[in-house]
Structure formats: structure tokens, C-alpha cells
């Protein structure tokens, strides 16, 4: 079976984002960019399914700027077989991303689409669920374990513990942190990835209007907390806790 994985190029996990002075957004000039960490987990899971003999082909898709090619090459170096870049310099919202992915899914006919549960830039946590809705497929969100046979059994990280659901295939899975630990691409595989097929398309090729539905009026800094005081001993801390009314 074929597995589709979606990857997004985002600010690197270790970089502290800075709001632009004019309030128009977050400054991404000369900032290190990487694959969204949850998407790395998605790629890794697809590769593991292939290594188990469940998946036969992995197609990685990214919707983003020309530089998202690098993100796709990373996915290819990790072990994806081919890639599709839907190139646009616009910032594309989850709804439009889901519409493009739904069109690609209709063409490619995967049995499973794996995505990160959320991108660490816009923090929406929406694309996978939206894609499942548009395709009429079931969804296994926030997955910490995925088993695929003639159906998918997905263990989900939920507020009250771990929930396991069974999904008919085809299905959409979104990854949580504990699903796996993504591998690093080896140098030979990075070299090999350069010759793997990467097709470039545009949103128009799929007939999807990517005009934004949410207009960002401004982006501002959150209110900052001030560092407080340091106490020198446990006794002092106990006094403070009493002052806060949480200790007697």
C-alpha cells in the first residue's frame, strides 16, 4: 500500500521566535528553518511501515515556498521514495492545505496519510482532521502507536490517558511526540535523495483557491513575566507558600 506524508517547513524548534517591530508577523529572515518536528515523526512512521513490509511506497508532499524543496529532500533522505512540492509563496492556511492534500490523495490513492498533529509555527492542530473530513475518511489524531493490517489501530494521547481506536482504511493519522524517534539521514542517503523524483506543482494545478480566510490584523509580543525573587532556604520558601495561602 501507498502512504502519503505531509511535511511543512517551519522555524527550527530551537530558535526563539521574535515578533517584527511593525507587528506584521514573526521575523523569519536569516532564521534557521527545519522540518516541523511532528512531520519528522510522520515520515519516520511511514518508513517503519515500509520496513515492516506494510507500505510499498512513500510519497512526501509539502505545500510551501521553493525552499520547502529542502524539507522534501530531507524526507527523501530519511527514506521517502518520491516527493511533490506544491509551490506557493503565500502563507497557506490548514483548510487550503487540506484541500490540496485531498486532491493529491484522490490522484495517488494512498491507504494512509500521515501528518504531524500540529505545526509549531501557527499551532493550529487542524490540517489532518480537515483532510479526513474532506475525504470522508476516519482519523486517528495525536497518535502514539499505529498498527496497520487490513485496518489501522491507533493509540491516541488524550487528556485522560491513552485511547485506542480502530479505523477502516483508507485513513488519516496525525502524530504525537511519543510515536517514534525520527532517524537522522545518513550522508549516503542524503546524496541518494538528490536523484529521487521531486515534482513541482502549483495550487492552481489542483484547482484550489488558497486565499486566506483569516486576516492577520497584527502580531504582538505576549505580556512578559518579570523574574521575581530568589529565596535562600526551604524555610523561606515555606513562608512564601504560607503567604500564598497554599500551606499552613
Amino acid at each position: 500500500m501507498k502512504v502519503l506524508v505531509a511535511v511543512k517547513r517551519v522555524i527550527d524548534y530551537n530558535v526563539k521566535p521574535r515578533v517584527k517591530m511593525d507587528g506584521s508577523g514573526v521575523d523569519l529572515m536569516n532564521v534557521k528553518m527545519s522540518m516541523n518536528p511532528f512531520d519528522e515523526i510522520a515520515v519516520e512512521e511511514a518508513i517503519r511501515l515500509k520496513e515492516k513490509g506494510v507500505a510499498t511506497e512513500i510519497v512526501a508532499v509539502s505545500i510551501g515556498p521553493a525552499k520547502a524543496q529542502e524539507t522534501l529532500r530531507t524526507a527523501l533522505a530519511m527514506g521517502a521514495d518520491r516527493a511533490i512540492l506544491v509551490q506557493t509563496e503565500e502563507e497557506v492556511e490548514p483548510l487550503a492545505v487540506a484541500k490540496i492534500l485531498a486532491k493529491i490523495a484522490a490522484e495517488e490513492q494512498p491507504q494512509l496519510v500521515i501528518l504531524g498533529k500540529q505545526a509549531i509555527d501557527d499551532d493550529n492542530n487542524a490540517t489532518g482532521q480537515m483532510l479526513a473530513a474532506l475525504l470522508g475518511w476516519p482519523q486517528g489524531t495525536f497518535a502514539s502507536k499505529v498498527e496497520v493490517s487490513d485496518s489501522a489501530t491507533v493509540t491516541r494521547e488524550v487528556d485522560g490517558g491513552l485511547e485506542t481506536v480502530k479505523l477502516n482504511l483508507p485513513a488519516v493519522v496525525t502524530t504525537d511526540l511519543r510515536l517514534n524517534e525520527p532517524r537522522y539521514a545518513s550522508l549516503p542517503n542524503i546524496m541518494k535523495a538528490k536523484s529521487k523524483p521531486l515534482a513541482t506543482k502549483s495550487p492552481g494545478d489542483y484547482g484550489v483557491d488558497v486565499a486566506r480566510r483569516l486576516e492577520t490584523l497584527k502580531v504582538s509580543e505576549p505580556s512578559k513575566r518579570q523574574a521575581g525573587i530568589k529565596v535562600g532556604s526551604v524555610d523561606e520558601l515555606v513562608e512564601r507558600l504560607k503567604g500564598l495561602g497554599i500551606a499552613k
Binding site: K117, L131, Q139, E157, L214, V234, V238
Partner: protein, 309 residues
């Protein structure tokens, strides 16, 4: 404007997340609530008492017991014929269902709102809360998830709404519930606890994490949280995780022990009223947000603290 709120419940009780979502919804218009479950009439009756709720819709069915998104979404979509906005709390249930509803309505969801600035304008955190975006929705209907720590809880008593049964569309039948491995705890839930003690990787093992933190939490009547590092290392289960992609908490007092304070962790707790940090590294970033800090070895400090409380 007529607003539909998805009620978060466990089959018998309405969760606090619902009350905060009702407050957010009331800023937009008349609040109707939707209770989905199996045999959920008791929850519907409790919902009818929430101050500010004008009407309760209840959808009952065996296939709805576990509120799977595939079965719940069509019910919401149908009810949205008569409503202008759909609000769900940013819980794992709300985050599972709301985007599915949004796509079926061809609406871009407004995720995790912090405030209602107008009928179509909201603030929401982006980049792990390192920036706050003010966004204006151009969609005719709104689908919104609500960061529950950002809104006061509506009073659980005081309302007297009518309850109406909803016709349940057929179960799509493409997903089914298998099991729930529920974390068993007598302690307060993180999202509603007044005090939270939270531990990091510095505890070194699951045994030490629990041996040191549990007695302290018991003394304070606190919920127990953890950093991602502690959860990844297996010291604590996943539902303990506080942070950008875990639980967002805002207790009266948050005590971070052996947690350095990565931005992803701070994103989940920096709205706490008072933050206390205990860490052996006095340069740890957690001290930059802490109101009260104590530098030292947690293996000495925590037992001493527990003993003196």
C-alpha cells in the same frame, strides 16, 4: 448571533473546560450547548443549569458514547444550519472534532482563542505563545476552539435552559472505539487544579519522580505535571505533559522542579498566577519567569519541603 458550544464531559459530569467555553461563547451571542454521548441526559440536565446557557441539544446513541469525531461531526454540521458559530474547548476531544466540522462547513478554524475582540475578531497564540496574533475571520460561520485558561468559568448553577433531543444521523461506521487506558489519579486534574507541582528530567527515574513529587502534591492538594523530557523518559504518563503541545495550565501556583524551562514548556504554564522554580542551575531559563526561585538540589529540597509543610 447564535452560538453552539460542544460540552466536554465524562459521561456523568460536565468538565470545567465547558464552563470557560460558555464564557467565551457568551461574548459572541446566545449560547446553545450540545451534549453528545450515550445516555447523556444527566449531563444535559447539568448543562441546562450553567449560567448563560439558553438551550441544550442532546444527541444520544450507543455509537456516540466515546464521542469519536467521525460520528459527532455530522451532528454538529446539521445543527450549524441554525447557528452562526461553533465553539469547542481546546481539549483533545475539542481539537479532534472542531477542525473536522470546520472543513465540512468550508470554514477556516480559529484555533485556541485567547480573547474575543469582536464578532469576527479574536486573538490567538502562535509560535508556542511567543507571539499573539489578532485575526479576523472572513467566513460567514465561525468554528473556534477556546483556550480555556484564558476565560473565566461560567457559574455551574443559575441557568434553567430547555433540553431538546437531536435526531442522530447514522453512524458513518468507519471508526470504532477499542479501549481507554485511563490514568487513575485521586489528584485534581491539571487543567482545573489550583496548585500544580511539575517535575522534569532531573528526577532521573520514574521511581524518584513519584517518590519525591507525590508526597509533596498530597501535602499541597496539588495536581502533578511533567515536562516533555520527563514524559519522553518515561517518568510520567503522557497526560502529565505541560507545554505547547501538551496541556495548557494556569493554576494559582505552579511549582516547577528540576525543569529548565524550554520555550515549549513555558508556553504551557506561563499564565500561572504565581510560578515557583526549584532548580540546581541558577542560570536555568525557568528563573526568568519565576516569581519565587530556589537554587539547589531537588533531592534535598523536595523532601525537606514536604516535611516542613
Amino acid at each position: 448571533m447564535s452560538v453552539l458550544v460542544l460540552v466536554e464531559h465524562d459521561g456523568s459530569h460536565v468538565k470545567d473546560a465547558t464552563l470557560a467555553t460558555v464564557t467565551a461563547a457568551a461574548k459572541l451571542g446566545d449560547v446553545h450547548a450540545l451534549v453528545v454521548g450515550n445516555d447523556a441526559d444527566g449531563v444535559a440536565q447539568a448543562t441546562a443549569k450553567i449560567a448563560g446557557v439558553a438551550k441544550v441539544h442532546v444527541a444520544n446513541g450507543a455509537a456516540l458514547e466515546h464521542q469519536l469525531a467521525e460520528a459527532v461531526s455530522p451532528i454538529v454540521v446539521k445543527l450549524m444550519d441554525g447557528h452562526d458559530a461553533f465553539l469547542a474547548p481546546s481539549t483533545t476531544t475539542g481539537k479532534n472534532i472542531a477542525p473536522r466540522v470546520a472543513a465540512l462547513l468550508d470554514v477556516m478554524q480559529i484555533s485556541d482563542i485567547l480573547s474575543v475582540e469582536g464578532p469576527d475578531t479574536f486573538t490567538r497564540p502562535i509560535y508556542a505563545g511567543n507571539a499573539i496574533a489578532t485575526v479576523k475571520s472572513k467566513d460567514a460561520k465561525k468554528v473556534i476552539t477556546v483556550r480555556t485558561t484564558a476565560f473565566e468559568k461560567a457559574a455551574a448553577e443559575g441557568g434553567s435552559a430547555g433540553v431538546e433531543q437531536v435526531d442522530v444521523a447514522g453512524d458513518p461506521g468507519n471508526s470504532s472505539f477499542v479501549s481507554l487506558e485511563a490514568s487513575k489519579s485521586e489528584r485534581p486534574e491539571l487543567t482545573s487544579a489550583k496548585v500544580i507541582v511539575s517535575g522534569g528530567r532531573a528526577f532521573g527515574s520514574s521511581e524518584q519522580f513519584h517518590a519525591l513529587l507525590d508526597p509533596l502534591a498530597d501535602k499541597l492538594g496539588a495536581g502533578v505535571g511533567a515536562s516533555r523530557a520527563a514524559v519522553d523518559a518515561g517518568y510520567a504518563p503522557n497526560d502529565y505533559q505541560v507545554g505547547q503541545t501538551g496541556k495548557i495550565v494556569a493554576p494559582e501556583v505552579y511549582i516547577a522542579i528540576g525543569i529548565s524551562g524550554a520555550i515549549q514548556h513555558l508556553a504551557g504554564m506561563k499564565d500561572s498566577k504565581t510560578i515557583i522554580a526549584i532548580n540546581k542551575d541558577e542560570e536555568a531559563p525557568i528563573f526568568q519567569v519565576a516569581d519565587i526561585g530556589l537554587v539547589g538540589d531537588l533531592f534535598k529540597i523536595v523532601p525537606e519541603l514536604t516535611g516542613k509543610l
